[in-house]
Every structure is written in structure tokens, then in C-alpha cells.
Point group: C2
Chain length 386, copies 2
């Protein structure tokens, strides 16, 4: 049953449980469900979420009502279960109806909230024994199911490879656009990773590059990075990856004081050339509201001088050295040479990447790269899951 | 004097003060300056910031040295003032020299750090009496000084207007590109604000739009928004702006409990259509590390159902109603009709914008808009200030 209650969303909310009983209190309606759960719904909350065509514009599915235009002492004159729906008559005259599937999905009793948090996707940590998820170019380009599997692996593992990509410049954009538009940077929409005499980043030299995230110099580091191999005839230049979340997690256990220092002391990252000058102050490890590890920001070659108090400076150096040392430990590292037609796609805010030095005299080496933000990945997953 | 010490930056560091005396301690060198200030520099910090050509690649000005490759018990065998520079001989053989201008600019004694924080640009709050900073299109397009003045007003006031912009579609992109590339979204690189029958956002209707920020549904709201008037023959549709920082600041004083609720309880914003589904959970008011108001996230028509505990729900509604009510108070509002050839450019993370309903039957109305991120604004300012 698709009721008016679902109008403000493109998702559907299957009925988990029937409404059993409703009771009107002073500032809320308490709903008892057929499975015994009791959910409070404040009058303000219910009125705010009225899905009727007067409150939500049906074309855009966006709210037109502003709750501030409703009496703050609004009360329910009557509330009842009517043909399975919660039906409420408000003081002042408005009438609202709520679908039980939608209502259960948005209930905010402790149990319902805990259930929703538990259902959120969690990162699957990995180490050197990681079984790399590999996907086929044709499948990803043609089959929405294969596309979804790839995107879920990206979201949950943060490191994937696609094989069979045409070795033409720009081919990676076709893959990227299966997700969404590309995020531009000062290095372009697509960037060419080649050794250049006038390099504006160490990435464009033949040097060894230590494990890093790209663009830590921006407020929002790019969510996804693509690296596509067109030619790789040079000696050296192997790709190295570590799961930054796994390292941070190990550090949290092995040296909690160092872990906290990297969470709490902000560090400046800088990238500057003749035309730009980006600076960003942020901690190396970011936690989310629940204290879970949410992001790693790291690139030694883009780091500015540490700026913290005299007291904290030795601790910050100890923590930084420890983290860098851990990125070098074999237990965490996946090392693999990228061949023409292969494409790395990884979570740039979690999976640190590096490359060994290569010898430009020994043969050509040409990778192309681009970025997409995490918003786009999560949006595409939700659309594919509808 | 441009010494090797400045190699890792494009900025120059004028000499503020001579080095007067240096003293080697166990884990640091204590520098006394000619004005009496004493700055500690830990051995690890100094070695990490050695600017020599072996430690920093001179072409990219990026560090090649990784501090983890240096002994963690490194010590200074000798430190002296040599021709005005700090010259250090390290155990193990390396020698480093530091320019006194650079050293003073990065000193981390309490006084030097406090000086740097005090010198950071601060938002200039405004209300209905705001003297709108207006800039001329030709000047901004041709004169780097006028460009810089405009960008500083954008950074510090968060609301500006440019006049004399050609009324051709796409003309705003020329102005935007004086800063940098445009940030694309699902609404395109440029978006057309017109009343549409198949609107995928209330922005594309003729409705009244309440005060809001754009794309609160993304992890990083766009830093700058451009709105360019090509045609405005319709009745109504005036632009309204408020300084969200000024309102948050007033709320902090007038109702601290409501202010805290908006800082601490995250709210979900949603934007969904047939091809996308963006969801972002974040508080309405974000504070920076020092507790200063850093960002406002608000769009009633893009807000999802509140999801917080039963206890907190009444407080959240009270705080939300209060904030919205304040955005409607005359004391905060700037109301102005935009004429053809005029362009609003404002800080989308601070300055909330709205429009009155307009009557599409009374005449044509066509605005174009685009976004640029704050990183790009700050980078352009730093380059222009070199």
C-alpha cells in the first residue's frame, strides 16, 4: 500500500508491524505496536511530518509547511487507528494521516533508534591478506547489479580494482560517470600521473611517494580516487595500499595516547604553486559523533610545520612517527603492480596509497586519475537500492 | 634576503626580529630573539623542517625527507647564529640552516601562537542596516586589486553584489572563474532558477522560499553561491538575506540552551529525485575548534524528520522554532530586488538566502546560479596577496 505518507520520499516503507493502540498525552501521542513496542511521537513532530498535499508539494516531495507557523501549544483533539493508519485531528482544524511503515521507520523510542544505528553499514577492516575485490569493466558499465556490488565494496572495503578498461586516455571518466560527475581540482578534471620536469607536485615526479591521501589540503578530501593505467613499461612504480582505518584502530589499542594526539591536535597541510595556495588545518584522524574512526588525512610531502604548544610537540612527533612507522609495516600493506587496462578505485579518505620510485629511462609510465565525492557514491547506492 | 629557508613556500617571510642567542638543551634549541622573546624549537621539529635541497625538492617545494627516517633521539651537536641565520649541526652528520623571518613566523612559544591566532581574519557580523558591498563587473574582471577587495568582502562579510554583468546566459561563469573552477552538483555546473512544471526542487517553483543554505544535503555545503539576474519582469520574488552567524550569535546570548541544542543535535537533510538521493546528518550550527560559530546548515524544505531521544525532542523543536523565528525578524533581514545585470555572490555556509513568492503569469523571471568552494576563495586570496 503506497499511501500519502510516503509522498515525501522515493523510498518505500514496508509495514513491519501493525499499530495496536494509541493514547493521547499532553504533548505527544504514544503508539503501541502489535509487537509490544511503545513509541512516543510528540505533537510538534507529528504535525511537522504531516504528509498531506497541503504540507508537502507533491511534485518536488519537499515540505511547504514550516512548523514555526503552527501553534507551539498545538494538541491532538483526537487520534485513532483508521484502516491501519494513524489518523490525527489537530486543534485548529488540520487533519493528518500516517502510514505505519513510515512511522515505524522513523520512530524515536530508544529501541527503534538503536536498531537503525545497528543497521548502518560498517567498514570491513583489512590487512596484507586482503582479498582484493576485482570487477569487470563490461559488467560495471552494463549491469546495474554488478555496478551496485562494486559500489558496496567501495563503501565497505574502500579498495577495489576494475579490469578490462580500454587503455585510451579518458576511458576512466566513463567508469566514474557510472557513479556521477567528476570532482574537479586545480590539477584538472582528469589528471595525468607522469614524470614531468616542471612538476607542481611530487606525484608528478619519478620519486617514491609515501602512503598518503590526496588533497588533504582541502576542507573535504575527495571521497573516491580513480587511478587508471594506460602504459606501464617502466621499472618500479608498484602501487601500495594500506587500510588507514585498520592502522588507526591498531594504534588506538597499541598506543592510546598517540591515537588521541592524532585525533585532537590539528596539523596543517599545504599545496602551493604559482597559481594556487591551499592550506587546511585538521587532525590526522577524524572521529564521528559516536567515536568511530571516520577519516584519515595524511601526506607527509604536503604537511606544514607542526604548530602546537611546547608541551604537546614531543607527543605529536612521537604519535606521528608511530603512525608513519605503522604504514610501513608489512602486516598492513598490499603491494601490486598496476597493468594497462586496470583501474584502482579506492576510498581516498580511508585507504592510503603510495608508489615505489620508478625509472623513467627504463620505459614509459602513464596513469590517469580523477576524483568523486562520497556524497555521490552514497546517493548512487541509494538509487540503485530502490 | 631570500634564503634556502623559504624554499618550501611561495610566501616570503620578512625579518621581524634578529636572533640574539641560542642555547642547546637535551631535546630542543631555545632561541632568544632581539626583542626578548624566547622560542623553543625541538630537535625533531627543526630537523623535520630543514629546508635544504636534500630534504625539500626544489621544483615542487615539497618535502622529500620523512622524519621517521631520522633517529628519534637525534641531537644538535652545535647550534649558532651564522650571518643572521640559525645554523645547526646534527648528530649523524646533517647540517641545517634556518632563516630568522621564517623561524619567527613558525615559532610555537605561547606568545607567537597567540599572535598568529589574533591575526586570523574574523567575520564582520551584520544586520538589517548592512551597507552592501557593491563591486563593478569591469573592475573585477580586469583589475587584480578590485578582485582582491571583492574577495576579502566575500570572506569577511559573506554578502556582496556585482553590477554591470552582461545579461547573457553563462556570463556568471566568467565572474566565477576569476576565483577558480565551478563546483558541479546534480543540478549542473550552472543551474537555471525558473519556475518549472516538473520541478525537482522547491527552488524551481514560484513559491516563497524560506531562508536557507543551498545543498545542506552534502557533507560539504558549497562555500560560495552566485545568483545572476538575466530577466526579472515578474511581480514579487525579492531576495532576502540574513547573516546566519549574527543570528546564531544572538541566539547564543538570548537562549543558550537552544543554541547548544542546535550545535549538538544532528539533523538530517535530504534531497532526492528520480536520479539522486542525498542525505546528510549534521548539526544546524557548527563550531570551530575554538568554539566560534563556523557554519550554518539550514533548509526547512530539505529537512528530514528529527531523530533524537524522547527527552531531547521538545528541546530540539523549541530551539529550531526559535532559530527560524529569528530569521524572520526584521532586525536581521536585508531585502532587495535583483535587477538584470546584477549578481549576488555570498557565503552559502553563513549567509542564508530566501525569496518571496513571485507571479509567473506577470512576467518572465530567469536567474542563473553556480557554486565555488571556500578552498578556492581562500587560495585565490593568498595568491593575490603574494
Amino acid at each position: 500500500m503506497q499511501t500519502a505518507a510516503a509522498v515525501a520520499d522515493f523510498r518505500t516503507y514496508p509495514k513491519i508491524c501493525d499499530l495496536a493502540q494509541v493514547r493521547v498525552l499532553n504533548d505527544q501521542i504514544r503508539v503501541q505496536w502489535a509487537d509490544g513496542r511503545v513509541s512516543p511521537f510528540h505533537h510538534q513532530w507529528l504535525r511537522d511530518n504531516c504528509p498531506c498535499a497541503e504540507c508537502v508539494y507533491s511534485v518536488t516531495r519537499e515540505q511547504v509547511l514550516e512548523i514555526v507557523d503552527v501553534d507551539e501549544h498545538l494538541s491532538a483533539v483526537d487520534a485513532r487507528i483508521d484502516q491501519g493508519l494513524l489518523s490525527v485531528q489537530w486543534s485548529g482544524g488540520h487533519r493528518s494521516q500516517y502510514d505505519p511503515g513510515w512511522l515505524r521507520a522513523h520512530a524515536y523510542d530508544d529501541e527503534s533508534r538503536a536498531e537503525r544505528w545497528a543497521a548502518k553499514p560498517k567498514p570491513q577492516l583489512w590487512d596484507s591478506r586482503f582479498q582484493l575485490p576485482v570487477f569487470d569493466y563490461s559488467a560495471v558499465m552494463q549491469d546495474p547489479h554488478a555496478l551496485l556490488q562494486w559500489l558496496l565494496a567501495l563503501r565497505d572495503c574502500g579498495l577495489t580494482q576494475i579490469r578490462g578498461v580500454p587503455t585510451e586516455p579518458g576511458a576512466l571518466a566513463l567508469v566514474a560517470k557510472r557513479i556521477s560527475f567528476i570532482r574537479e581540482s586545480n590539477f584538472g578534471v582528469l589528471f595525468n600521473v607522469q614524470s614531468k620536469a616542471d612538476a607542481d607536485s611530487n606525484a608528478y615526479t619519478a620519486f617514491n611517494l609515501p602512503l598518503h591521501s590526496d588533497l588533504p589540503t582541502r576542507e573535504l578530501q575527495p571521497g573516491l580516487q580513480f587511478l587508471h593505467c594506460l602504459v606501464n613499461d617502466a621499472d618500479g612504480g608498484e602501487s601500495i595500499f594500506v587500510d588507514g582505518f585498520a592502522i588507526a584502530c591498531a594504534l588506538r589499542t597499541e598506543d592510546p595516547e598517540a591515537f588521541l594526539a592524532l585525533c585532537e591536535i590539528p596539523v596543517e597541510f599545504r599545496n602551493k604553486d604559482r597559481h594556487s595556495d591551499y592550506r587546511q588545518l585538521a587532525p590526522i584522524i577524524a572521529l564521528d559523533a559516536l567515536g568511530d574512526i571516520a577519516e584519515i588525512r595524511m601526506a607527509n610531502f604536503l604537511r606544514g610545520p607542526f604548530d602546537t604548544s611546547e608541551d604537546q610537540m614531543p607527543l605529536l612527533y612521537r604519535a606521528y612517527r608511530r603512525f608513519i612507522a605503522m604504514t610501513r609495516e608489512d602486516r598492513f600493506r598490499v603491494v601490486q603492480r598496476l597493468n594497462p587496462g586496470e583501474l584502482w578505485c579506492f576510498d581516498n579518505r580511508r585507504t592510503l596509497h603510495a608508489r615505489h620510485a620508478f625509472d623513467p629511462a627504463s620505459g614509459a609510465r602513464h596513469f590517469q586519475g580523477c576524483y568523486i565525492d562520497r556524497d555521490e557514491l552514497l546517493s548512487r547506492i541509494l538509487v540503485l537500492q530502490r
